[in-house]
């Protein structure tokens, strides 16, 4: 079971401010050894053979939620931050933990300058027109 909005509001209360507790959750770490700055639009994908993360006592409910979210639909670091309503720095640390635990992997975005050809950009234009 993943943590829903209700669960989250127990985990943090607004009065404490958004800073102290999230970093308590990451045990004060602001960077994770395994990951240096993950790109905001890097995509997090749950490993197909990731077991049930809830059985791992070292993982927080937020870790478990990320594994669940990215199992149904891989999503970007930025999206996870908004979805979990956590600052980006905290989410980066959590993702680093999950990579380390081999529950997820991260696909780095292709820099536009390295796109093999223009077809993707044409698709973007067509997609925007069709919105």
């Amino acid at each position: 079971m993943s943590v829903d909005g209700q669960g989250r509001s127990h985990w943090f209360d607004d009065e404490a401010g958004p800073v102290v507790r999230p970093y308590a959750m990451t045990r004060g770490r602001t960077t994770s050894p395994a990951q240096h700055r993950l790109d905001l639009i890097a995509v997090v994908v749950t490993e197909p053979d990731a077991g049930d993360p809830e059985t791992d006592p070292t993982l927080s409910p937020e870790h478990v939620e990320i594994v669940g979210l990215c199992r149904t639909a891989p999503q970007s670091v930025a999206e996870l931050a908004t979805e979990l309503d956590l600052p980006i720095g905290v989410v980066r640390v959590l993702i680093g933990d999950l990579v380390h635990a081999e529950l997820v992997h991260v696909t780095r975005p292709v820099p536009p300058a390295e796109l093999p050809d223009e077809s993707i950009l044409r698709d973007v234009i067509n997609g925007l027109r069709a919105l």
Binding site: P18, D39, I41, P74, P87, V110, I125, G127, L128
Partner: protein, 201 residues
């Protein structure tokens, strides 16, 4: 054939992700623009107070707090299941500019929103993208009552290169915002083509 895990269906699609930045002066319509084409959400980041310059919040009572929260506009446009475009509204205040470096890295391009009543507010953004060779377009947000400058006058006032597109828009209007974003992608394509030419020939 072993079905195994595929019982759950196809493996999830890993989308190709791209990003466009939306910059411009205070109150020029950045949030409105992002919201006109995407489901918009605030994205929080925490920056150390030394980096951010000075505290914005009242920090009394939160002992040991040495970071401040900076919120950005963040929008997602799903073009296809396997192709997603993200919009990042860059925080306007100059003291948060260090964040732009991270945001602009790997960006497809940028929109600099301008208000003709105070064009000077976007000088800094124009400068920023020019220096880093990030393709950008200038979107002139046509607030009612603002004199409608012809695009050429805006180009001159901003001292823009010939090839930088200047597009009139209404940040509240989805169709014109779509055109601005399409303008960014087209400009990025031309830009990439020019660079290839410069390298090969």
């Amino acid at each position: 054939m072993i079905l195994g895990r595929t019982e759950r269906g196809m493996p999830p699609v890993e989308p190709v992700t791209l990003k466009i930045l939306v910059a411009g002066g205070f109150g020029v319509g950045k949030t409105t623009l992002v919201g006109a084409v995407s489901e918009i959400r605030p994205l929080r980041t925490e920056e150390s107070l030394t980096e951010a310059g000075r505290p914005v919040d009242d920090i009394s009572g939160v002992e040991g707090k040495n970071t401040t929260t900076v919120a950005m506009d963040f929008g997602r446009i799903t073009l296809r299941e396997d192709l997603v475009l993200y919009l990042f509204g860059t925080p306007g205040q100059e003291r948060f500019w260090f964040m732009w470096d991270e945001l602009s890295e790997g960006a497809l391009g940028a929109v600099v929103l301008a208000d003709t009543r105070r064009l000077e507010d976007c000088f800094a953004a124009v400068d920023y993208f020019e220096r880093r060779s990030i393709p950008f377009v200038v979107g002139v947000n046509c607030f009612e009552g603002a004199s409608r400058y012809p695009a050429e006058a805006v180009r001159q006032a901003l001292d823009l290169d010939e090839d930088v597109p200047v597009l009139l828009c209404d940040a509240r209007d989805r169709e014109t915002v779509k055109e601005v974003l399409i303008g960014v992608v087209q400009h990025a394509m031309e830009y990439a083509a020019d660079r290839r030419e410069a390298v090969t020939g």
